[in-house]
């Protein structure tokens, strides 16, 4: 599903060239739940941005859901992103002037993925799946942080993307709510969606299939979770 080959990313800064990523090779299979962990500034957000086509690699190739991202234009990337990738952000990033349901319907509107009449029903289904169906017609300002992140996850799933990318999805939530959100992501992965999260969470190992550690722009080690944990979680 995801394949990175010899990917580097450098930024030109006034202080000189800064290498954010150096020679990354990474394969992620369909339906895998992968955590990218690392310290602040280690390059995990950059890596996630490359996977989502938000940023271009300086060299190497990034293939996600069958598309070689470095070859696509901005407009092609937008279309690809809308259909193939769902994003979940640390600060939820719901659009404040749209209700929960409307926020979920927005990607469907952008990508014209479902017939207009079915969009609301699908949005309500998704909100139900993440447990915030009663909040469907409320504006984000009326929701708690946990509820907002659930709506954001529903929005990420709007176009039924094969890949969901989450950047610190629990960074702004209390531990109970954070656990619930991670469980939700686990469930998504178990039902076949490839989920990649960048996180600080220490006990993430319990839930993910694999942990990828990034330090100073390179991969430290790819750690598989205990095989037993996977079927456990999938149930």
């Amino acid at each position: 599903m995801i394949s990175l080959q010899r990917v580097t990313k450098t930024y030109q800064t006034p202080a000189g060239t800064f290498s954010a990523l150096r020679g990354i090779d990474l394969e992620i299979k369909a339906g895998e739940f992968v955590a990218i962990v690392g310290k602040s500034g280690s390059g995990k957000s950059t890596l996630l941005n490359l996977l989502g086509g938000i940023d271009h690699p300086s060299s190497g190739s990034v293939t996600v859901a069958g598309a070689a991202l470095q070859e696509l234009t901005e407009t092609q990337l937008a279309v690809w992103r809308g259909r193939k990738v769902g994003f979940v952000f640390q600060f939820f990033q719901l659009l404040p002037t749209l209700t929960s349901a409307e926020n979920v319907m927005l990607p469907m509107d952008f990508c014209r993925t479902f017939p207009p009449r079915e969009r609301r029903k699908r949005a309500l289904d998704l909100l139900d799946r993440v447990g915030v169906a009663p909040q469907a017609d409320k504006l984000p300002s009326a929701l708690s942080g946990g509820e907002q992140q659930r709506v954001a996850i529903a929005r990420a799933l709007a176009n039924d993307p094969p890949v969901v990318l989450a950047d610190e999805p629990t960074g702004n939530l209390d531990s109970v709510t954070a656990g619930a959100v991670l469980d939700l992501l686990r469930t998504m992965a178990s039902s076949g969606t490839t989920v990649v999260i960048a996180t600080h969470e220490r006990d993430i190992t319990r839930l993910v299939d694999r942990k990828v550690e990034v330090a100073d722009g390179g991969l430290v080690a790819a750690t598989a979770s205990t095989p037993a944990a996977v079927p456990e979680a999938r149930r």
Binding site: N49, G52, I54, D55, E74, T75, A78, V79, R81, G82, R83, G86, F87, F89, F91, Q93, L95, P96, T97, L98, T99, E102, M105, L106, P107, D109, F110, C111, P116, D137, K138, L139, P140, S141, A142, R155, A156, A158, N159
Partner: protein, 796 residues
């Protein structure tokens, strides 16, 4: 340069597009202000130098022959500083095959020593020799003559004579010849003799020694002079006292300058609003920076000073554009105004005080506009400022209005997003709407005022059932005129009337001199030439003898002019008494009244005499009107009837329309400028909105919006604001048009309009609003669509 100044400049530089927009908007307002101010300075100076330099007469006494002894006696009066005799006579002039025109001939005793109502020689000969005539420079076009031509002149019943045009003069005191549609000519006494006229000079122009601009004083001096002349056996028919020191058309110029300065001030306020918007946006986006500056020891005043200096920079930059633009604008304004008043502007030099005012206003307006947002923005505490998450976290949904907006559905989400977003920054929205709506209101007012003017004129002209008026040089027996009017092809109907001048008694408290003058038409009882629009009371009826219908212009001049009242005024030397039976609506001057013809037909008046003819024609194109005029002249000449002039109704209408066009053009230009300022305001607002929503735009892009979709959402938001401003303008258009139309017309003509509201104005303005707001949001939308997702998400 200190660090705060550096910050002020660099912050602006960072957002250069928006800064340029706001500077342009302020510059437009300032330029309008500076243009009006310098026009005022240049024109008043030119009037002083031009008109007052001719030493205009304080009063003119019309009498019989003036001799040197009389002048010496008048000059002996210590209140009179100078006196000079002249003669004015009315004649007709024709150049080659051109039609006859009215000619005012001014006979000057000594061209080498004109001390009052001075003339300025401009071209050709000076002074004119015997048999020569000089023509007022603006009248050459009316006479269709040029220097070197021979013109035909006819005075009274005399025969046609020819004179050589040998020069052009500038007579500043005369109203523009083209506007009055007559020719002014200047000749010597010898030429007058050759024309076969008696050599009398019958007008005495005097200038008072003191208080030259005090009308009351002038009246009393003129009264003394009149008594003196009468005591020496002269008859004084009439005393003219023009408004002292005032050019005949100065009022019109005053009205225009007043309207323009009101407008310039208005534009200035609107551009000030833009500064408020800009600085409110900037203060909001810099909350964290303000926090940091305070944390490292900046006081509130030190922080505020940075932003005030930005406002000052805006003003300075705007001044650099506005001053030259305003000066250029004033030249464009002064030219036509001076031509209208027939005086020259010798120097466009703008006095220092105009520059000082413009600079003061240019610096103070942005500072004043900045005061509130800056002072409020700089009040935030360090803790609040550093805890701020940035502007995109404002909580939409906290008010009832937000929740109402959230209730709107049935549209696609991108459209909903655009519409709801436009309501997020409500103060900013309100300010933007104000500027945009102002343009719309003025535009619709322009259309409505024009339509109302046309309707008012249509109604007025509809009361005149004739196509051609012919004025005779004297009163003639009606049978002569009737004979002449017979058998002229294309004349459907004709009538001959007697027209006289009425003179109201002087106002109580004023001197014993005459009051207002007005026309008095003696109307045949069964007239088919006039269908008065009776506003009050009734029209004249057959059998009426002492009944009078006054027009609204005359009625406005005296509180006595009420239906049912008895009024008295002079016709010729006799005081007459009348019962007001009706008031006829005639919205534009002159003042006048209608009386039964039976009055003039009385034995002791002018039985059977007529001095005016009205003709209704079956075709009113210029060619057939001219052929009727030719035929009529020939017939009248055969009957020995002298024609003073003839006027086609269509020509009169063209003249009136030309005056109205000025008001219309003025309003349209005004709305155009306002629209530009409003558009700059909207562009500023949209660019602030885009800046504040960078992160949201990034999110939208991340979840699959194409750059073109982002572009469309922003443009839609701008158009939503445009449509909203249209709705506001549409609501205000009716009352404002009515007020504005009435105010302008009252100022210029002392009358009221028949108001007419034009629906098409609403539709045109809707189209303009949509197009203009789309254009104004184009650039901000483009920059929004070019933001990359990574930049947008990283933006704080």
């Amino acid at each position: 340069m200190t660090a705060p100044w550096q910050k002020a400049i660099r912050d602006f530089w960072q957002e250069s597009t928006r800064t340029v927009l706001v500077v342009l908007a302020i510059a437009i307002g300032l330029a309008a202000f500076a243009a009006v101010l310098s026009s005022y300075a240049v024109l008043t100076r030119a009037i002083n130098e031009g008109y007052l330099a001719t030493n205009p007469a304080s009063a003119t006494l019309h009498t019989d022959a003036i001799d040197d002894a009389l002048i010496s006696a008048v000059l002996a009066d210590r209140d009179v500083s100078d006196a000079e005799p002249r003669r004015t006579l009315w004649a007709r002039i024709r150049t080659g095959p051109a039609a006859w025109r009215v000619l005012g001939i001014f006979v000057v005793k000594d061209f080498g020593n004109i001390r009052l109502n001075k003339l300025v020689p401009e071209h050709g000969a000076w002074p004119p020799a015997t048999g020569e005539i000089l023509i007022e420079r603006d009248a050459f076009q009316v006479a269709r003559a040029k220097i070197g031509d021979t013109v035909t002149i006819r005075i009274g019943k005399g025969k046609e004579q020819t004179l050589h045009v040998t020069g052009g003069v500038h007579d500043v005191g005369q109203p523009q010849a083209r506007m009055e549609n007559c020719v002014y000519g200047y000749i010597t006494l010898d030429t007058l003799a050759r024309l076969g006229e008696p050599l009398d000079l019958n007008q005495l122009n005097i200038v008072v020694a003191e208080n030259r601009f005090n009308e009351k004083h002038i009246r009393s001096v003129a009264q003394d002079v009149k008594k003196l002349m009468e005591s020496r056996g002269h008859t004084v028919h009439d005393v003219d006292i023009p408004p002292p020191g005032k050019h005949p058309h100065a009022d019109l110029m005053g009205v225009m300058l007043l309207a323009m300065s009101t407008f310039g001030f208005f534009v200035l306020i609107l551009s000030g609003i833009l500064v408020v918007n800009l600085l409110m946006g900037m203060m909001a986006s810099q909350v964290r920076q303000i926090g940091v500056m305070k944390a490292i020891g900046g006081t509130r005043w030190q922080v505020a000073r940075i932003y005030f200096s930005q406002a000052l920079l805006l003003g300075i930059a705007a001044l650099c554009i506005a001053l030259p633009l305003g000066i250029l604008g004033s030249r464009a304004l002064c030219g036509p105004l001076a031509a209208l008043l027939n005086f020259d502007i010798t120097s466009f030099t703008v006095p220092l005080w105009v520059y000082l005012w413009a600079v003061a206003v240019g610096l103070v307006v942005p500072l004043l506009a900045a005061a509130w947002p800056v002072w409020k923005g700089s009040a935030i505490s360090v803790r609040e400022a550093l805890a701020d998450f940035g502007v995109s976290r404002n909580t939409f949904g906290s008010s009832v209005f937000d929740r109402m907006l959230a209730g709107i559905g049935g549209m696609s989400r991108p459209l909903l997003l655009a519409i709801r977003n436009s309501f997020r920054r409500r103060t900013r929205l309100a300010l933007t709407l104000m500027t945009l709506a102002a343009g719309g209101i003025f535009f619709m007012s322009a259309i409505n005022v024009r339509a109302s003017l046309i309707q008012t004129l249509d109604q007025w002209f509809a009361s005149k059932k004739y196509d051609l008026t012919v004025v005779f040089g004297d009163a003639y027996p009606s049978d002569k005129i009737e004979r002449a009017l017979k058998n002229i092809p294309s004349v459907v109907r004709s009538e001959s009337w007697f027209n006289a001048q009425g003179i109201l008694p002087p106002r109580p408290g004023a001197s014993t001199l005459d009051g207002e003058r007005f026309f008095v038409d003696a109307v045949p009882s069964n007239t088919k030439m006039l269908k008065l629009d009776i506003a009050e009371g009734r029209d004249l009826l057959p059998g009426d003898v002492d009944a009078i219908v006054v027009n609204t212009v005359l009625a406005a001049k005296s509180p006595e002019m009420k239906v049912g009242n008895t009024i008295s005024f002079r016709i010729g030397p006799d005081l007459t008494s009348w019962r007001v039976v009706g008031i006829a609506r005639e919205p534009f001057p002159p003042a006048g009244a209608y009386i039964p013809q039976a009055f003039m037909d009385k034995e002791q008046r002018h039985p059977g005499m007529r001095n005016t003819a009205f003709l209704a024609l079956d075709s009113t194109d210029a060619a057939s009107v001219n052929s009727v005029k030719d035929n009529l002249e020939r017939n009248l000449q055969r009957e020995g009837v002298r024609v003073l002039g003839s006027n086609a109704k269509a020509d009169m209408r063209v003249g009136v329309d030309a005056h109205m066009l000025m008001i219309y053009v003025f309003l349209v230009v005004m709305s155009g400028i306002l629209v530009v300022v409003g558009g700059l305001g909207l562009a500023t607002t949209m660019s602030l909105n885009v800046m504040e929503r960078r992160r949201e735009i990034g999110v939208i892009r991340a979840i699959g919006a194409r750059p073109s979709t982002v572009w469309l959402i922003i443009v839609t938001e701008g158009v939503a604001v445009g449509v909203l401003s249209w709705a506001l303008a549409a609501l205000a258009a009716w009352p404002v048009s009515k007020l504005l139309g009435d105010a302008l017309v009252r100022l210029a003509f002392h009358t009221k309009l028949d108001f007419s509201f034009q629906l098409q104005g609403l539709f045109i303005w809707l189209a303009v609003s949509v197009i203009f707001s789309a254009v104004a949001s184009f650039m901000p939308a483009r920059s929004a669509s070019q933001i990359t997702v990574r930049e947008a998400l990283a933006y704080e």
